[in-house]
């Protein structure tokens, strides 16, 4: 059968079950756009390629299925870069397609040529440039396979315009065959036995759970495991929702902006069971003091994570869900003792709190969003103080409901990610809890939300500052607020100009009614919450300090 490269592209996407792609057209992808035009794949036109990458990322995080984005060559491709790096840092299955100049013009600094495979080499799990249309189907199959298996990650496929435009007699390339790509699924029996022994001997176990639990779908196993051991569970930012935040064993988040009780528990535990985490510096604080008294068991699917930052006693390399089931089979349930009591005391003594003073507190706003949505919304965030307040004050009970840029910390992630989430989950409530600084990095995506009538709710925590920067300046630079104060547009008018609904909230009493009204509005809504300007995220561990040295 004769097929064009673009037709092969569309057919391969359908074969992968892709129903939606996020993209932005241009010269080098015109053959692909022409083929998409008559396909039943939904194309969402974002207003910036970065938005397309983040939307595809949000779609993937919400569903666990690969997100797909598409951009033209040169500037289109380079505009994807932040989004790809973001997905890479948080192990999100993303497949990014870029157009490229025709093969005969490659390497000549042609119009809109950028070496996107070279540029994205360090921020993709793998990438390809397809120079022969006969390789296209094989490469696309490999790209999806690599993006979604093992430790997920972004894969980029660069397709020159003459390749997508070429006609060939199509031959099926058959199943994926990658001799250099192997995925670990089963830990070694001797390691498993050692882990069981360490667990049996432990008196003060703590579980440290991260995004790997979400990726592996291991949340039920994690819960069962924790309940058997009566081990408290601290999660990373990426792990929020992997363990129910309202569970008696939940310690909330650990690390720089973790709860005191989570950090104290990690400092005092004699066994740390790390599941799907990478001992990031925002979590460990000063490395030498991290979990100093503890033996460490590390469960991860990526062998390269074992021993990367912290020496561990036992490594269980494999899929978290599988490994936890194997452990559950081998363990006995425990009874509560002194450790559980100690944790309970810490929780009572050092709860997360904030001062109520009649002014609009961001923590209160987020708590009200939690109540208004019965804790059932999908929440995206930008990066900064509001992100940490969201982590603290919206209690996440299910995986894939907290969608935030963890590893890269990308301001401007929240709005386009919310678009991807709403497209993936049309019947659910999607809130973007945004910063007044961050929202302006991808504000153009309000047009996308209006264009596709996506009823996302954007709650801007408007403090008139790059708040997290200001907080650091307050603590570490003598309150010298160097270039961290903002002069903002009128977000209500801005929302209206885009065709969305704009609202403003300045007093605590207005929060709940505004949220009710927003939730009842079947359109994109922007709520500008004018919050206490110099509110801080508390408690926190100054950089480079041990976890039990917390301010606040």
């Amino acid at each position: 059968m004769k097929k064009s490269g673009a037709q092969i592209f569309v057919d391969c996407l359908k074969e992968q079950g892709v129903d939606t792609i996020f993209g932005y057209p241009g010269g080098a992808v015109l053959p692909i756009y022409d083929a998409l035009y008559e396909s039943d794949i939904r194309h969402i036109l974002t207003r910036h390629e970065q938005g397309a990458a983040h939307a595809a990322d949000g779609y993937a995080r919400a569903t666990g299925r690969p997100g797909v984005c598409l951009a033209t060559s040169g500037p289109g491709a380079t505009n994807l870069v932040t989004g790809i790096a973001n997905a890479y840092m948080d192990s999100v299955p993303l497949v990014a397609f870029t157009g490229q100049v025709v093969t005969s013009q490659l390497g000549r600094d042609s119009f809109q040529e950028a070496d996107i495979t070279g540029i994205t080499m360090p921020i993709t799990k793998h990438n390809y440039i397809v120079k022969d249309v006969r390789d296209l189907a094989r490469v696309i199959r490999e790209a999806f396979y690599i993006a979604t298996t093992g430790r997920p990650g972004p894969v980029l496929v660069d397709i020159p315009r003459d390749v997508s435009g070429a006609q060939i007699e199509y031959q099926d390339p058959g199943p994926v065959n990658l001799p250099g790509y192997r995925v670990a699924t089963e830990p070694r029996p001797e390691d498993l036995a050692r882990a069981v022994e360490l667990i049996a001997r432990a008196e003060r176990p703590v579980i440290y759970a991260g995004g790997g639990v979400v990726n592996s779908g291991a949340h039920l196993e994690l819960r069962r495991f924790a309940e058997m051991l009566l081990a408290p569970v601290a999660t990373t930012l990426m792990g929020l929702g992997a363990f129910p935040g309202d569970h008696p064993l939940s310690l909330g988040m650990l690390g720089m902006h973790g709860s005191k009780y989570a950090n104290y528990a990690v400092c005092e535990c004699d066994l740390l069971i790390a599941v799907g985490v990478r001992f990031d510096d925002r979590v460990t604080g000063k490395l030498e003091s991290f979990a100093r008294q503890a033996r460490i068991i590390h469960i991860d699917i990526d062998p390269a994570e074992i021993g990367k930052n912290v020496r561990v006693d036992v490594a269980l390399v494999g899929d978290a869900r599988r490994v936890l089931s194997l452990l559950i089979e081998r363990l006995e349930a425990r009874l509560p003792g002194a450790w559980q009591e100690k944790i309970a005391t810490w929780k009572k003594e050092y709860p997360l709190t904030y001062e109520e003073n009649g002014r609009l507190k961001p923590q209160k706003v987020i708590r009200e969003i939690y109540y208004a949505t019965q804790g059932q919304a999908r929440i995206t965030t930008d990066v900064g103080q509001h992100q940490m307040w969201t982590a603290h004050y919206y209690t996440f009970t299910r995986p894939r409901t907290f969608i935030s840029s963890g590893g890269l910390g990308t301001m401007g992630f929240g709005l386009p990610a919310a678009i991807g989430v709403q497209v993936a989950c049309p019947d659910e409530t999607v809130f973007d809890i945004a910063g007044d600084g961050s929202i302006q990095m991808n504000i153009q995506e309000l047009a996308t939300a209006v264009h596709y009538n996506l009823p996302i709710k954007v709650a801007i925590m408007n403090n008139g500052y790059l708040g997290m920067v200001r907080q650091w300046q307050e603590f570490f630079y003598n309150r010298r607020y160097a270039y961290s104060e903002l002069v903002n547009p009128d977000f209500v008018k801005l929302a209206e100009a885009y065709g969305a609904v704009g609202m403003r909230v300045e007093k605590p009493a207005e929060i709940a009614p505004a949220l009710q009204e927003a939730l009842a509005t079947p359109k994109p809504v922007v709520i500008d919450f004018i919050i206490e300007r110099e509110e801080n995220v508390m408690p926190f561990v100054p950089p480079g300090q041990p976890l039990n040295c917390m301010l606040g």
């Binding site: 495979t117 080499m121 001799p179 250099g180 790509y181 062998p303 390269a304 021993g307």
Partner: protein, 170 residues
Amino acid sequence: MRHTLSVLVENNPGVLARVAGLFSRRGYNIDSLAVGRTDNPAISRMTIVVEGDERVLEQVIKQLRKLIEVIKVSDISREEHVDRELVLIKVSAEPEKRGEIMQIADIFRARIVDLGRRTMILECTGNEGKIRAFEESLRPYGIKELVRTGKIAMLRGSRYTNINGTREDE
């Protein structure tokens, strides 16, 4: 500590850039790197000499294994092996010095591959220590130019490494 890694990779354009990029990005030190295709034209072998303690080495190996086009990584320096480098040295050789230089070449079993009016090119293969000694012996005559390959290495005996790992035939 220095380690010699024998790495089998798919013979694709870009694979060298991926390996080199990995080393520079993660701050690993490459002492030398030699690449060439194997008896299977679809597969190349890289021999990489890296400097670092056990912990660095473990990370290097694991990170290399994560590259999709890397098929097999083995630390050859843990086992009995043969390693060789090749050097070409252009040395000043006024007619009255040529006899001495030829004697040195003899001792090192080096070959004279070019003779100019005032210079000679000598070719020598051997392990690193021999190459270093050879270079030192010629230095007093005036080395004009020196070109050397990276190290290549192979296991001794009937054991061998291929894409299926290290094995031995009956």
